[in-house]
Symmetry: C2
Subunit: 689 residues, 2 copies
């Protein structure tokens, strides 16, 4: 069906109304929430204390997820798929927590999730003037370097003296129209408390993913620790066991990862014609390799599980985005929107002089972007693809090199403000699987050769006279699988790395200059000009539409509003709830429609009329996984775990008629903990008042 | 770079010149060859005797390839990749002719290629009036049925009384603007004589495929047999051992499979936005599964080899087509061409009344085509994907049913004129590999569910309560792997099939009505209206441009002309020849740049200056594989085995500046047979005068 927001785009410029006027649209920052509009539409008062309480209970997880604090002892609700990697890392050939579930019977059994950090937003400060001052008059790669150096300095200064407990991050909003310093209280000791069986959390598997009706208990619990003890978290949400009602207002507080709603038509066409199709083809083949790998043995299935889940989930999401972009009406509407904004800008001579023609500049960048895409992708941006060993090696090699430089001269991801998280991620112990490394490295190297061609300089440098298969076999023997060795290289820095005879370290040392060169080329010719133009487009939007709009998603804290509501598409009406009873009706006994053992005999143990999953009109996207669904009174009523298939075009716009967030209810979770898992410890903690 | 034929398209209507005027363009039928143009450009006389001789030496292979008769005893030159499947079928777990090569030391050792038929075109007869009379006034599915019935009847009548030695086939040319009856002399006993090692034929593998410079000995020899003896074939081409010269005129006689140069812009957009991307995604995942499968053991590598080769080859070809269509200039030029042709048609009131608005009708079909694409693809058109067992079962079930009907009431592929080839293909013995069946069936069924969704009626019917994995395991135990059982069911017909308890037969019996229903729906709503409109567009073209144009490729015999010539792209000039010496320079010792054992020490045995592969400006496409490259004097100078990467957009148009055919020279073949393979028997036969 046609997306309503395409029509909305056309209306927007003409009426000078914000894009969000037509529906429950918007991933709003906490310092610019449209409380008046929400009050008018839903009668709910979202005042400063309400916002502060919800903000203080919302935790961003470094695995790319959202979550909420739900008790005073640091208990955190998130999705099962957000702890799937942790559960797999904690497993061995003999235990499979990701598939069989995990339950700490007592606090001492709660287990550290390697590399995971939780961050709760504390303050927001506008730092736009400082960043703009640093970049004034700069262009291309110089602009990128100056901006990133100013960001690093601002972050370092913002958390100076409190680095152990806080992390400061500058968020570019409105594509650089604003820069805000977000200071987070951070928790670097996050432990797994409870996870249901993989099959219970992901019943229906990939076929049901992004669909509704749905029967997934996609939840799990983590706990924040401080000094080896559960953190005291008085600012938590209240656990509600009563299910939401049809039409009930729902707020979602979380970290939507990335949207492209402010891109120009030309940029969207590059996504449509190149970036998304290339990624889909790559993921399809990797998916095929992983599926067959997983069928070879139970152990292969176990170790490939998390990566395959991620690939299939991303594939479906990106496929939805691509399908949205193929609709010619979308590009036509964006083209008109761009032209109208440009025309409105040019009516004011002063404004026109300030803004210039960032649309034309953006269009001019696209051929370069297309030409550089493949070397940039395979040699730098996605080098190594899913290989942990390559990831570790590059991180260690680059950190070793960059840490010898002044902070403002480094690659930005190695600035002082980023080092604490990097160190934790590289030195926390976690299993590395040589057979899976062989698969991912071989895949990456074969696609590098295929896409760059066998005769390209980059291919010759990375492969030499080896084949992807033989080189991958050599590299997957790297000692970097050992956390102690990684710590030794991290601590030893550049000298220790230069002296290492590890094959993966040698490989990265031999190729890194080429990777850095293509990155610099890309920043000079693509990132710099694009970001510079985007800033001015943002200014044009502020000038024409005011600041009552919301920025694109950036994996930073946002609040969306909406209500429990089904939808109608092509004459078919989907009601907003599923109930426990439906689970047994949908179960076939065959994967992925089979039930975990504990659930096979549990039909009589739960109330068939308990609300299981539900949908609401909230505007969400990937990264929101694990976000609390919150009532008007600030109670948590569920954990958002998905969007419906119609919402996948949400990257480019929101259609309130059909886009829906999918949430597992606290009512269903409570009943499962009580009657199926008999987990009195958690039930007692959750229901304590 | 921009394709010249896009500009050509724009010129065409305005000047009323044929599309082919600008370059060595065209896949010409033998009854409409532009001899005058060739004489003018190359000074070569292509007269009726020349054409008759070349036609009589050109053999179409039922595996989708071309070939030429090169001695008086039925010896046929084609590509290695055209006999790869045959060589694999003749192999066992202990012998691998596809990889290690095959050489019959004496005639008695030449081995039957299962299911293979060679066909040499004898006569061409215009049957347009008869087909048109049968379809007059009919539309939609009725049109398709009437046309196909008339075609079947025409074919049956055309070969009446000589069916044992001849096959008649009606070819729809100019998208139905003409119908011609092609009568072929057929050879149903085709035997493998010689094949080099897989690594010699496909040196450089997938990375070098569709590239040049190239070092592939992609040739092999078959022999036509009659009554158990080598066929007498006096009308053969003469084997030339002298290499072609730069600029030398070259003719290619073969069967280009399919081009879409006459489609409307709207049809091309559907290919661009749906058919090609969907196919690429599917092939990518299957490729990934097959690659991993092949890595599991030498035997898995052996049995997956031919299917993986085919998938990778198709993937690269389709990817090239998709890339051509993504160029907005192509659709814009086609749109203008369509509009100009329509406008020219409408200037003449009588013509306008006859033609109507087939462009508008074609556009109106596209939304239906898109809506029906997935069920039609997965349940009917490509059901089973690569599964031999499903292919056999459907063929037997449908043949059993259709043969109880009058000829004109059958599905057209089961008309009397088609049965002989079908029977040979289904009853010839060839190995079926259960592990590979499991892989392909599981893949097909999982993609069926993914694309149609788990809740679709089609998914429920095909899968029932089984999963793709369990259903595939059950079906891959089918007895249809046994040729004797297939023969029993073919001979026993409908009753024997109804009584069969074979799981694959039962599966097809249970699902075939649904497959036929979606096919009928598709023919009613898509094929019928599209083909009906295409006929009238063809008439408009004839009226405006005359009949001096060539039709789209249809895997029927065509002749293209051109010359040995390199090309220049983005400032890089590629010379037209490679030489033996270059092979050892390119070899790295690692797959796919490794040499077969016989070649590792052979550098001193061959002349490094012998022309190995060469390129020419001939207009070819998939299906031309194995075609003879022919000199002005009618000698064979090579076997065409590829196009360069620039030629992949050739499906939609020909750019004479950069599109090149790639050929392995008879000079190189002769030298290899003499000095590396020491095959005196073949050398003597080839050089006999």
């Amino acid at each position: 069906m046609k997306r309503a927001w395409i029509a909305g785009l056309l209306v927007a410029t003409l009426s000078a109304a914000p894009l969000a006027a037509m529906a429950d649209e918007g991933m709003w920052t906490f310092d610019n929430f449209p409380s008046a509009a929400v009050k008018a539409k839903y009668g709910v008062t979202v005042d400063a204390p309400w916002l502060a309480r919800v903000r203080g209970a919302s935790a961003r997880l470094s695995v790319g997820c959202s979550s909420s604090v739900v008790t005073g002892s640091g208990l955190v609700l998130t999705n099962h798929h957000c702890v799937r990697a942790c559960a797999q890392q904690l497993s061995t050939a003999g235990t499979n927590y990701a598939e069989d579930g995990f339950s700490a019977l007592k606090r001492e059994d709660e287990k550290l999730c390697p590399g995971m950090v939780a961050e709760i937003l504390d303050t927001i400060t506008d730092v736009t003037p400082a960043i703009n001052a640093a970049t004034a008059g700069k262009n291309g790669g110089d602009f990128v370097k100056a901006r990133d150096a100013a960001i690093g300095a601002t972050e370092k200064q913002g958390c100076a003296g409190r680095e152990a407990l806080y992390r400061c991050q500058v968020i570019a909003l409105y594509q650089g129209g604003q820069y805000k310093l977000y200071a987070y209280r951070k928790y670097s000791d996050v432990r797994l408390v409870f996870a249901p069986e993989g099959q219970t959390a992901f019943f229906g598997g990939d076929p049901d993913n992004f669909n509704f009706p749905r029967y997934d208990l996609d939840f799990s619990f983590l706990r924040l620790y401080e000094n080896g003890k559960p953190a005291a978290t008085p600012a938590h949400l209240t656990w509600r066991t009563a299910p939401p009602k049809d039409g009930e207002p729902i707020f979602v507080s979380g970290n939507p990862g990335s949207t492209q709603r402010l891109l120009t038509a030309e940029q969207l066409m590059t996504l449509r014609d190149q970036n998304l199709p290339e990624t889909l083809l790559l993921f399809s083949e990797l998916r095929g390799r992983l599926i067959r790998f997983g069928e070879e043995s139970a152990e292969h299935e176990r170790i490939a599980n998390d990566l395959l889940f991620g690939i299939e989930n991303s594939f479906k999401a990106i496929r939805g985005e691509e399908q949205a972009l193929v609709d010619p009406a979308l590009i036509a509407a964006k083209t008109k929107y761009d032209a109208d904004l440009k025309a409105a800008t040019q009516k004011d001579a002063t404004l026109a002089a300030t803004i210039g023609d960032p649309w034309g500049e953006t269009a001019a960048v696209q051929p370069l972007r297309r030409a550089l895409y493949k070397p940039y992708y395979f040699l730098e941006a996605r080098a190594g693809l899913g290989s942990d060993l390559f990831h570790y090696a590059r991180l260690l090699v680059r950190a070793g090199e960059e840490r010898t430089k002044a902070d403002h001269d480094r690659l930005p991801e190695y600035s002082d403000s980023k080092l604490a998280l990097l160190e934790k991620q590289v030195t926390d112990a976690q299993p590395v699987y040589p057979e899976l490394e062989q698969l991912t490295l071989e895949f990456w190297l074969s696609k590098l050769r295929e896409n760059l061609t066998a005769d390209a300089e980059g291919t010759k440098l990375f492969l030499g006279k080896e084949s992807p298969e033989t080189l991958a076999a050599r590299l997957s023997k790297s000692k970097l699988a050992d956390a102690a060795y990684r710590k030794q290289l991290w601590d030893g820095g550049k000298a220790a790395i230069a002296a290492s005879d590890d094959p993966m370290i040698r490989f990265v040392l031999a190729t890194d200059a080429a990777s850095r060169a293509i990155r610099k080329d890309y920043e000079d010719k693509v990132t710099g000009p694009s970001d510079r133009a985007a800033e001015r487009i943002a200014r044009a939007r502020f000038a024409v539409h005011g600041t009552s709009d919301y920025p694109d998603a950036t994996f930073s804290l946002r609040l969306s509003y909406g209500a429990v509501e089904g939808w109608t598409d092509n004459g078919v009406t989907v009601t907003p709830f599923t109930y426990y009873g439906g689970l047994w009706q949908r179960a076939t006994g065959q994967f992925p429609f089979n039930l975990a053992p504990k659930w096979q005999g549990a039909e009589s143990k739960v109330n068939p009329n308990t609300v299981f999953d539900f949908v609401s009109t909230n505007d969400i996207i990937g990264g929101n996984s694990g976000s609390p669904a919150i009532s008007a009174r600030g109670e948590v009523v569920g954990a958002v775990f998905d969007g419906n298939i119609e919402s996948l075009g949400g990257s480019f716009g929101f259609d309130g008629r059909v886009n829906r967030a999918v949430t597992v209810s606290t009512a269903a979770i409570t009943e499962a903990l009580k009657n199926v898992y008999a987990n009195d410890r958690l039930v007692t903690e959750l229901l304590a008042r």
